[in-house]
Symmetry: D2
Subunit: 167 residues, 4 copies
Amino acid sequence: MERRLQISIIGGASCDEPTAAKAEEVGFLLAQAGAVLVCGGRTGVMESACRGAEKAGGTCVGILMGYDDAEANPHVDIRIPTGLGVARNAIVVASGRAVIAIDGYYGTLSEIALALKIGRPVVTLGSWLLPPPPGGKQTADPLHHAHSPREAVEMALRLARKSPEVA
Amino acid sequence: MERRLQISIIGGASCDEPTAAKAEEVGFLLAQAGAVLVCGGRTGVMESACRGAEKAGGTCVGILMGYDDAEANPHVDIRIPTGLGVARNAIVVASGRAVIAIDGYYGTLSEIALALKIGRPVVTLGSWLLPPPPGGKQTADPLHHAHSPREAVEMALRLARKSPEVA
Amino acid sequence: MERRLQISIIGGASCDEPTAAKAEEVGFLLAQAGAVLVCGGRTGVMESACRGAEKAGGTCVGILMGYDDAEANPHVDIRIPTGLGVARNAIVVASGRAVIAIDGYYGTLSEIALALKIGRPVVTLGSWLLPPPPGGKQTADPLHHAHSPREAVEMALRLARKSPEVA
Amino acid sequence: MERRLQISIIGGASCDEPTAAKAEEVGFLLAQAGAVLVCGGRTGVMESACRGAEKAGGTCVGILMGYDDAEANPHVDIRIPTGLGVARNAIVVASGRAVIAIDGYYGTLSEIALALKIGRPVVTLGSWLLPPPPGGKQTADPLHHAHSPREAVEMALRLARKSPEVA
């Protein structure tokens, strides 16, 4: 069996309309390219991305915070009710071979940091910028900055294909 | 979108040949009925059930213990590398609207108990029997005992459809 | 620094009076022997054991299900609000070098099974009995049965001292 | 029983000597003030902070990534082997009524973000600075910046005493 690439989308549970449109396009293009979309399964950026993926006939996995399937937005196909609260953020990013961050707030920032910690490449589309780490420990920006949904998807797919099987 | 039912299969990471055959038939029948199979994604009962589901064109989700996708058996479509160790057992059972237990050992026993704790119905096919709880607190057996793969799948689907959306 | 042994106590969030008295005596004797008591931090067996430990001047750690410190019973010194729901059961048993099970229900059964899965010795005092695993895979009872609080504490301390540092 | 305040210390598993000295002083002052120190239990900033707390006769709790007690540095009193990998970061910050961040890298950044997400006040001492969230969603800096170990401890204790019991 040839497995489909899994790409994680992270972003806020609420967002403005232009951000929602970008997230929907990202989801659509990912699904069109044959990738499985993994996210936190909720509203906002997550729901818009799932809506886009559904329009392209794709598969969406929602890694939920509670035990309640109904927490998932209506475009999620596979619902994983973890019951772990915010600790589930680590699973959201671990489940993608690459991560696309769109807008977001502290939850999204935690996911970006967890992804970098466990070695998942992170593409940002209008999301957090990272200052240099404290103590001058590093200078190269670890994030891949995209300027359009299409560029974000292309970057993520390219990085995911290069990404090792093992975290 | 009409969502497919998710059914969890639990059982040992190693098993004998007759058990593997039963697990494969359970996976095949579940997929044939349109259900998504969720399991721990590893070898033994899990791998056999996934092989059966794949033969019927179904979808298998593997909730893995580590961060390494390669931990998944080759029949898993959607890989969720949790990094949680045995704590992921709670997620395996929470992710099914009903649970089918086949054979197994202490990990499987923990999953049966966690499923009962959070209110997921459990069908057993040659798996653990439960003695009465200590202190004589209850008399009715909480498990649903099936005697064939077909009966296990029918029981699980019936229980899953009656099971509330919310845990 | 010489570290104090950590012993986990598991049991139901509600219990009858004779069970509460046994749990309190177990907690008292453990603390008197210098052990740190780890539990789920809630009511019932957990609260009684913590009360006993407090009377002997001991230390109690509560591994809580939610994020709310107030979930802990008033005798818990160190509160670990995990937010993990029932997945925290794995941490409760992993945090003791040995486990004492008193009475309980499905949550307790899951903890007994998880302890055996990760190799923690389990002493029972009026708790679950285990039938043989399915398929006749084993005959020796993996549990250590005590008949009094004093015997439970002596067994747990002896097993904990023999238990390897590494799980 | 009057409970001692729990304060979480976060920071890198390796650090330079001046940072280690600062972390040790923070641990010492926290313990002197009667607080319990919670951290990830490992090397670097964590070990230095625990060493300081031990010198002042304090109590250190280590929330470990694996199942192996031996992962803890030698100054940890209470060892919680979670087996959760980086998902344990959420528990580290949830277990303090306030958090002090010293230096660090992506793991520390994830902990800062998780703390803000669940509402724990964060004091920084030479750790990450946060840019404004994407989309101009907020302007006030959510972090409390200290310029010395003494100021960090005073800030954390003051914030912890004002912090609600419930997350």
